[in-house]
Symmetry: C2
Subunit: 399 residues, 2 copies
């Protein structure tokens, strides 16, 4: 028996990365492979209190069906959260709550992409985005990055050449690049959006995870400085990296016309995001615990990042090239092949597993023209001793 | 500025029913319009305990990313729940958790429907299903019902005529029909699925809400009696009507090949269903409180249904025709026009609002050939005095 699957599935696959993850069960393995935050940093006590409050103060609302646009107390908290980060124009009506920011991407694909439509993404970019847009028939085209994120001259050339439906970017500590787009480049991106009348989707799960100094304002906040740009900007936010991925609470800020269509589609996607999770998130944000928690999370990740950077330089030297991250969860690197050593990150990943350390090769993160020498190392979930030991194993695998 | 929305949105609209709901804010209105359970029947204490347990026993798992297929303890509980209802073959690996059963429908559309594909539904059926499948380009075709649900001779004729991608049915106390498909007809549906090699999607949110006697076994359970039928049956379950819609916990049972594709699509839809909600639901089901809660919910709804049925007969007499429901949340009725009275349910809905009572006209529930005399009355959320008063107001509106 063969089920009559839809043609849209023909060119989309469960990611190669997921196959790798099956190997992570091996005992004693040190993993730099994940893309998730450290569970040990979750504010369990704060979330226990918030969940108790949600189920005590208004259990009917937390357990009943809710508005597709989102639970009003949460929309109010998220608007305040965005305002505090410089997007001072954002009101509760300017955002809808989504089931993680992954659903925001899905709703963007559903509302905007016709089969064959070109969509621009960074090369490399978040793997699940590429697949998500391809499921709606998008032709996903790549604009290369450098150490400061997307290259804006190449972006403009691609806008001219392809007239894409939209541009998808992760300007702050992107997955997998870890790159931070500087202020001037951000402003230029907004100018291009206005000039070419093209939507920019800003995915921002990591922007709050800066180390020494805050990231420049989000594209969303910067729309105030670029006339006409607000109507071309869609912002996707998430509590996954700063509070808890398990809540599945994200949000989307955008032009009202887009929010209305996305809300209509969401009705038929999952009716609404868990009101139980939304009410808990709202109570948590209202509790005022987030700023201190963010400080703690940043401090821990900054220390782990610097430990990994130092260990990579010490142990792998010229065999690896990378820009030290200023925030986020990842070191994005290239094997240089210096001294005749391995320059194939896929092969290194296999040898590394044998040595007891895991990471993700970079090639799958490219929608086109994969760089086989690239790799992504997450410093988020291993402690500093483990990071040093894991990098030492990596060095052994490279010998 | 006009955003370049995808063509798939062209023929889908936010439902007419949602517009009606905006009128429900009017003070003192008695609503028979909702499609939701009574918040007063939620087991708040049980869910408080379950949520506390989830965040105490293994907070890391409840708050971290989880498997797209679902949280293992919940899959185990849901398999046991299905087994206890006669689907004895269902193992945890035979189901995936979805963000409400609405997401199961969305994943079915995404994995199976190519633009132009015919899909069969009952006329009338659940409104959000029609729209959900249309978003993937389905041509939604209607098979009429009678007091015992879908008419199987008409179903067979439609299978022959249209060779649909699948058939979507709500065999137990369907929304909006409230109809219960008897055993013989259920078996016939499964035989047709095998004979015409066509998937049947069984949506079953109401099956547990029976009054005097249990519904016949689900199509899923009955696959054991019809050789070859198991591979053609997809079952969508939900905790929304029996525990809490706000959790957004549903599940899908189906052939492994379909579950694999649906899981892949779900990765890009929302990554996974809230692990926080899943862990809470798992702890609740493990607590053993569900059977007593179900007894209570059935008892209350049965009383309200019988109150509504008696009031309708007393107050509206021959002006209205309906089959008394044996479970679920709804009375589905037709205005007969007897004695020259109004037979247009849309017009009655407007007059009823003026009299202080709301219900939903039936026409929007038909994918084709709407019956303008039909209407849906929910007895789920008003107490018995309110039901009697609401029906009296309805009678005044009809005069």
């Amino acid at each position: 028996m063969t089920l009559p699957f839809a043609r849209r599935l023909d060119h989309v696959e469960t990611s190669a990365i997921r196959e790798l993850f099956k190997l992570l069960g091996k005992p004693g393995i040190i993993s730099f492979a994940g893309g998730f935050p450290d569970s040990a940093l979750f504010d369990v006590e704060g979330l226990q209190q918030a969940s108790r409050q949600a189920l005590t103060e208004n259990p009917g609302a937390a357990l009943q069906y809710g508005a597709t646009e989102g639970h009003e107390p949460l929309r109010a908290q998220l608007a305040a959260f965005m305002q505090a980060k410089g997007a001072t124009h954002v009101t509760p009506q300017d955002l809808i709550v989504t089931t993680g920011s992954q659903q925001a991407l899905d709703l963007i694909g559903k509302t905007l992409v016709d089969p064959g439509d070109p969509v621009l993404v960074e090369g490399p970019t978040f793997l699940a985005t590429i697949q998500c847009f391809r499921l709606y028939g998008a032709r996903v085209l790549t604009v290369p990055i450098d150490g400061e994120g997307v290259q804006v001259d190449r972006l403009e050339a691609a806008l001219v050449a392809h007239r894409p439906k939209f541009i998808y970017l992760i300007p702050s500590f992107g997955n997998p690049s870890g790159a931070l787009v500087p202020l001037a480049r951000r402003l230029r991106i907004l100018e291009l959006a206005v000039q070419y009348r093209t939507l920019v989707v800003e995915d921002d799960p990591y922007g709050d995870l800066h180390f020494d100094q805050p990231a420049p304002p989000s594209l969303l906040a910067l729309t105030a400085q670029v006339p006409g740009s607000r109507e071309w900007l869609v912002y996707c936010g998430s509590l996954s990296k700063v509070l808890s991925p398990g809540l599945r609470v994200g949000w989307m800020v955008g032009p009202q016309a887009l929010l209305a269509k996305a809300t209509m589609c969401k009705q038929f996607s999952d009716a609404h995001t868990s009101t139980f999770a939304q009410a808990t998130a709202a109570a948590y944000l209202a509790s005022g615990r987030m700023p201190a928690r963010l400080d703690e999370v940043r401090r821990v990740y900054a220390r782990r990042a610097s430990t990994m950077v130092e260990a990579l330089r010490r142990e792998l030297g010229e065999a690896i090239a990378f820009t030290a991250p200023q925030g986020g969860l990842f070191v994005w690197a290239r094997l240089t092949g210096a001294g005749g050593r391995l320059a194939d990150a896929g092969e290194l990943a296999r040898r590394a597993i044998e040595q007891g350390v895991a990471f993700v090769p970079g090639a799958p993160f490219f929608a086109a023209d994969p760089d086989p020498a690239s790799l992504r190392l997450s410093f988020a979930t291993a402690d500093e001793d483990k990071i040093r030991e894991g990098v030492a194993r990596l060095a052994r695998a490279l010998r």
